[in-house]
């Protein structure tokens, strides 16, 4: 899937916690990525359908309005955005086994280790 995406520096961050969103966004930007942040799955879908094409999506699971699982399901239904790799960020390690999450390209367990975050993003995006 990821092979179909031209490596670029754009990363989408979907996270409802403002502080995490700010920290991750700032750290990735310091590494040279362009970060598109949003606080729930619904907004993220809207941005994607408006034409945004990040190399990777960092996705929180527990969010209001549209949660991570719903986002994954919607994304899989939409051929235009389905190929974009998604890295799930969750505090609950057991969430990994769930089918929707298992299809994700990567998994980051909260609390997120910065180096792991950077390595993971690097697999999909070029700063």
């Amino acid at each position: 899937m990821s092979t179909e995406i031209t490596p670029c520096g754009r990363v989408m961050l979907v996270e409802d916690d403002a502080d995490i969103r700010a920290m991750v966004g700032m750290l990735l930007e310091l590494e040279g990525y362009q970060v598109v942040s949003t606080s729930n799955g619904g907004d993220a879908l809207k941005i994607l359908r408006d034409g945004e094409r990040p190399c990777v999506i960092l996705l929180d699971l527990m969010m209001p309005v549209m949660n991570g699982w719903q986002f994954l399901a919607e994304q899989a239904q939409d051929p235009a955005i389905a190929p974009i790799p998604v890295v799930v960020m969750s505090g609950d390690g057991r969430g990994r086994e769930k089918p929707a999450v298992a299809r994700a390209a990567g998994f980051l367990k909260k609390p997120i280790d910065l180096q792991t975050l950077l390595n993971t993003v690097q697999r999909f995006a070029r700063a």
């Binding site: 916690d17 502080d19 995490i20 920290m23 991750v24 700032m26 310091l30 609390p111 997120i112 180096q115």
Partner: protein, 740 residues
């Protein structure tokens, strides 16, 4: 007188003498008619009149041998001499000494005429003279005549003897019969053809009759009157006495309770001559009593056998029920099983009504043995909940917790139970003729009601069935209770797991920010020293760290608070507090949160509402409710109102969010509970639990009114006087702790 005349006279005298002798002897012979008189008298007279030495009369004995019938002129010894056998009595050589002399002349007279019957007296009359008798020749003729008379006399004598014998025999027989009759235990009545009645002592005793009554007519009434149905008895006896052939046997009961077997039969001689009719009464009271006793015993034994069989069936039914009930812990499956348990052996249809933990009741299962009635059963289940207002029926049992038995469900009663015509029609269509309704109770808690109903199968419930239903209900209640506890436990485990997941998420979120801030700073500083760290990044990182540390501390506080509250240790600092001021303050400090939720907040808290409360706890309650409203009603208006209502202070928080489903309205106040899935809404799910516990400690309450999808309104009410006295509260806390 001439010689001729003299001769004539002499002749005449002689004839007269002869006639006189004949007359005398004839009279004497006629005496022999009486068999008790001896012949010797006649023979003595004969011997004397004719001048005989001896006179002997011989005849055959019973064995046919010659026998001395009578004699004159014989000694006693001679008379005792046995006679030799002889073919003819005339030829017989007599062994008597008196007749042994020479010159004896014998006259022989056959007493039996030759033409007489063979068994007629073969008698001879023998006259012995000492020499030729000096008698006129005519005397021979006189003796011949006498022999004829003797023959007749002997014939009559024999007949008379036979008559006497017969009479004695008859008398003996009669006496014997009378003895037997009197000795008989049976009552005997004989009615002759002339209606003369005779009866034995026993019969007299039975009917308390006088010693003798005249005829059948006099007897009829006293006899009939002693029986239980006099008219019947009289009619039957009257009919029987008239018929000559019929025999019958009946049972007659006297009014003193004794029973008699009465046989009635005609009395006839062997050759069929009808004499009359007899009744034979045998007392069968004792026999009847024994028979009755035996029948009763038999009945009792049958009953005991039936009871034992019933007990066995009940035991096996209950054992099977227990086995079935124990086979699953699934709540709804268990309820379904309970309803099916009694079908079809013990009910045509059954239903289970359940009291939920919030005391609401509803009909969960209606099962009918006839699949064709499934639709009706479903209608009963969904459309007619248990009617707690009804004077009888499942609703009543749910309220009172007492069993009800309706051996016969009259339509009027059924209508009362139904409460409305439509419900009544459904019940009638299902068939409801007899019912038992028993409460489902376990651990002193009313869990529901179990109704068993017989329709048109003709069966009826009684006390025994009620006992069985109660037994069954005990087991069912236990199963229901277990299933419910299991369900609650599973829900609790699930809630705990969810809480752990949420708590870890909630705790990991600040840790994530903190860790990223610290690692980010190190990484940026590592490249070119801390001087190289961009000031904006440095500031954001530090601010994030401070904020998230505080958030973590707050989370930890809240968890500790919950555990303290759970242990019943809500510390209250009671002082006069203005609820309106508290509300204003909380709104003021939550400005940022309100803004980020995108809610328009209306606060209506005009006058002061002052009560004896704990300020910090009231702030906590208000903040939790507001934050709850902002979370679930994000983007929509939120209304906060404080008012006084009598001796109560009231806080109302209304949002227009997703609302609370009816089935969760009570439970959202429990630990780790929330109205919707945790996947959408972060938070520990402890906010409302803390609100509810704090308000309870303050003597107040919180309830929620909501329509799903149209928001929720939380209403808090607090007594202005504050919580009840410390002692009362202490007791309550103690009880709460004991229950926990």
């Amino acid at each position: 007188m001439s010689s001729h005349e003299e001769g004539d006279l002499k002749l005449t005298e002689e004839r007269l003498a002869r006639i006189s002798v004949l007359q005398e002897l004839t009279v004497s012979a006629l005496d022999l008619f009486d068999p008790r008189r001896s012949m010797d008298d006649l023979l003595d007279r004969l011997a004397m009149r004719l001048g005989c030495r001896a006179v002997v009369c011989l005849g055959p004995s019973e064995r046919g041998t010659p026998r001395l019938l009578g004699a004159s002129g014989l000694s006693r010894a001679s008379r005792a001499c046995p006679l030799p056998a002889a073919s003819s009595l005339e030829e017989l050589c007599l062994p008597y000494l008196e007749l042994a002399g020479e010159g004896l002349v014998r006259w022989v007279f056959r007493v039996t005429p030759p033409e007489g019957p063979a068994d007629a007296l073969g008698c001879v009359l023998l006259l012995y003279f000492d020499g030729e008798p000096r008698l006129p020749a005519q005397y021979h003729g006189v003796v011949e005549r006498l022999a004829d008379i003797l023959r007749t006399a002997l014939l009559h004598r024999r007949l008379y003897a036979r008559t006497l014998e017969s009479e004695r025999g008859l008398f003996e027989q009669k006496t014997l019969l009378e003895c037997q009759s009197e000795a008989s235990l049976d009552g005997i009545l004989f009615v002759a053809t002339d209606a003369a009645a005779s009866y034995n002592e026993r019969f007299r005793e039975i009917f308390e009759l006088p010693e003798a009554v005249g005829g059948f007519g006099d007897l009829l009434e006293p006899v009939a009157d002693r029986t239980a149905v006099p008219a019947d008895m009289a009619e039957r006896m009257k009919r029987m006495v008239l018929c000559r052939e019929e025999q019958n046997r009946t049972e007659v009961v006297l009014h003193d309770g004794r029973s008699f077997d009465v046989a009635c039969a005609p009395v006839k001689s062997r050759d069929g001559v009808y004499f009359g009719r007899s009744w034979y009464l045998r007392d069968i009271t004792e026999r009847k009593r024994v028979e009755l006793e035996r029948a009763l015993l038999f009945q009792q034994e049958q009953l005991a056998r039936a009871q034992a069989e019933e007990a066995r069936q009940r035991a096996s039914f209950l054992a099977e029920a227990s086995r079935l009930l124990a086979s699953s812990l699934d709540y709804s499956a268990t309820l379904e099983r309970v309803a099916q348990l009694a079908l079809p052996s013990f009910a045509d249809w059954s239903m289970v009504d359940v009291v939920e933990e919030d005391n609401s009741s509803h009909r969960v299962v209606v099962a009918h043995f006839d699949p064709a009635k499934a639709k009706l059963a479903e209608a009963l289940r969904t459309r007619f909940p248990p009617n707690e207002e009804a004077p009888a029926g499942a609703g009543r049992v749910l309220v009172d917790g007492k069993s009800e038995l309706f051996a016969e469900l009259e339509p009027a009663l059924l209508r009362q139970i139904a409460g409305c015509e439509e419900h009544f029609e459904v019940l009638q269509a299902l068939g409801a003729r007899s019912a038992v309704i028993v409460p489902l109770t376990a651990r002193g808690k009313r869990l529901g009601a179990f109704s068993l109903v017989y329709g048109d199968s003709g069966r009826r419930y009684g006390e025994a069935e009620l006992a069985l239903a109660e037994d069954l209900a005990c087991r069912a209640a236990l199963a229901v209770d277990n299933a419910r506890l299991y369900l609650r436990t599973r829900e609790a485990v699930q809630a705990r797991d969810e809480f752990l997941s949420i708590a870890s998420h909630e705790l990991r979120t600040p840790v994530t920010s903190l860790q990223l801030a610290a690692q980010g700073l190190l990484r940026v500083a590592g490249n070119g020293g801390f001087d190289a760290v961009p000031p904006a990044f440095l500031r954001t990182s530090l601010e994030t760290s401070v904020r998230q540390s505080a958030r973590m501390a707050q989370l930890i506080d809240r968890l500790l608070d919950v555990s303290r509250i759970q242990a019943g240790k809500v510390e209250l600092q009671l002082e006069p507090v203005d609820l309106a001021a508290v509300a204003r303050e909380i709104v003021a400090v939550s400005r940022e949160e309100i803004a980020s939720a995108g809610c328009e907040l209306t606060l209506q808290a005009d006058g002061p509402v002052v009560g004896r409360w704990d300020r910090q706890r009231l702030e906590q309650v208000t903040a939790n409710l507001l934050s709850n409203a902002l979370k679930y009603g994000a983007g929509k208006p939120v209304e906060l109102r404080v008012e006084a209502a009598g001796d109560l202070g009231r806080l109302v928080v209304r949002d227009q969010g997703i609302g609370v489903p009816a089935d969760r309205r009570e439970r959202i106040f429990e630990r780790f509970e929330r109205a919707v899935s945790a996947r959408h809404y972060s938070g520990l799910g402890l906010g409302l639990y803390i609100v509810q516990r704090v308000l309870k400690a303050l003597g107040g309450s919180v309830k929620v009114e909501s329509e799903e999808g149209a928001g929720a309104t939380f209403v808090v009410e607090l007594p202005l006087d504050g919580p009840p006295s410390r002692e009362a509260r202490g007791e309550e806390d103690h009880r709460g702790a004991a229950q926990g």
